[in-house]
Symmetry: C2
DNA sequence: CGGAACATGTAACCTGTTACATGATTTC
DNA sequence: GAAATCATGTAACAGGTTACATGTTCCG
């Protein structure tokens, strides 16, 4: 439902090949919409067949040859249509919360260790996002597109902040804080 | 990957029929793991074939007849195994953040209205969760299972709090706060 | 008896995941 | 010329969504 629109957005920001897109989905775009290269190639084929994007002219066989894509007018208007249309917020679906609920029934063996691991990962993400914020959004950049991209990054920062705080708190309340809960 | 374990948890908390499970997935469990009745019936069949749960003895035809399920020992140990096993945090995948990023490219038409709608929905959820907290977790309930369930609810509350704050902030920064941004 | 609500299911489809296949280019 | 890396793809499967089908019980 959203992958094609993620790809259209990425290609409008900068025309790319499949592999370049994959790389970008491992960095900036992937921070809020992840995708593997298999998904991306499949979707690129579909978008091309539907006339929303096209491959820049290239000769020779397909395999192993770089293929650059760009968005066609129909692709841009489809993206504009999707962006303007209302959408309901997706219900939360988080395995970690489910796991705590099941731990309330079958016991907490192994859970605290994994919460510590998650905590470390979220701290890493948070540090990473903060670096990006300092680098890409110094005070003063005020055009609307920048404000929108900054708002998206802030969401990432605030969500990671939430996880770090919640995990610290939960570990403390479980009485199994381990050795490194307040570094 | 997690639906069967959500169902096992729910059935351990209280043996239920398919429809009762569906109802519970619309309330408490669904707050962090949503599922439709079609998914649930499909999965119940699979869990029964695999010997993790069983239907309590009932005669007559299947259609239209209530069917109560309970967890078998193998089901409980599978749930315990899953709960103890490490899992990586799922990468974020949020259509609303993607939409803001695309709005940075194709324009913000229609976006602010929908952000207001989301804001109202998140405020409702938040009020709902706070009521549940007051009702189900008065100060003093301190057994570990309660602390775990309370931690899960706190995550819901904190996440909704994040969304409300982020949406208010984003609407303000976009300069399109509408009429009811600080009620 | 007829309609509403209860209750269980089937089928088709779409999206995402995992494992593997294949050709091209670079590097030693 | 062998190995590593770049680059594009295929196939099979798992999980989630949407639409529909069917029988039962309750109530006026």
């Amino acid at each position: 439902m959203s992958l094609p629109h993620a790809i259209l957005t990425a290609l409008l920001e900068k025309p790319s090949s499949g592999l370049e897109l994959t790389r970008r989905f491992d960095r900036s775009i992937g921070y809020f919409w992840s995708a593997t290269h298999q998904q991306i190639y499949r979707e690129l084929g579909k978008l091309e067949r539907d006339g929303l994007i096209r491959a820049l002219p290239a000769q020779g066989p397909a395999r192993g040859q770089k293929k650059q894509y760009e968005v066609l007018p129909r692709g841009r208007s489809e993206l504009a249509r999707w962006t303007a249309a209302p959408q309901d917020p997706r219900p939360l679906r988080d395995p970690l919360l489910l796991r705590l609920r099941s731990a309330a029934v079958v016991g907490t063996d192994g859970v605290a260790e994994d919460l510590h691991r998650h905590l470390a990962l979220h701290r890493e993400n948070l540090a990473n996002y903060r670096e990006i914020e300092e680098r890409d959004f110094p005070p003063g950049k005020d055009a609307t597109p920048d404000r929108l991209r900054h708002a998206v990054l802030r969401a990432g920062i605030d969500l990671e902040t939430f996880w770090v705080g919640w995990l610290e708190d939960t570990l403390r309340r479980l009485g199994l804080p381990g050795q490194d809960d307040t570094p």
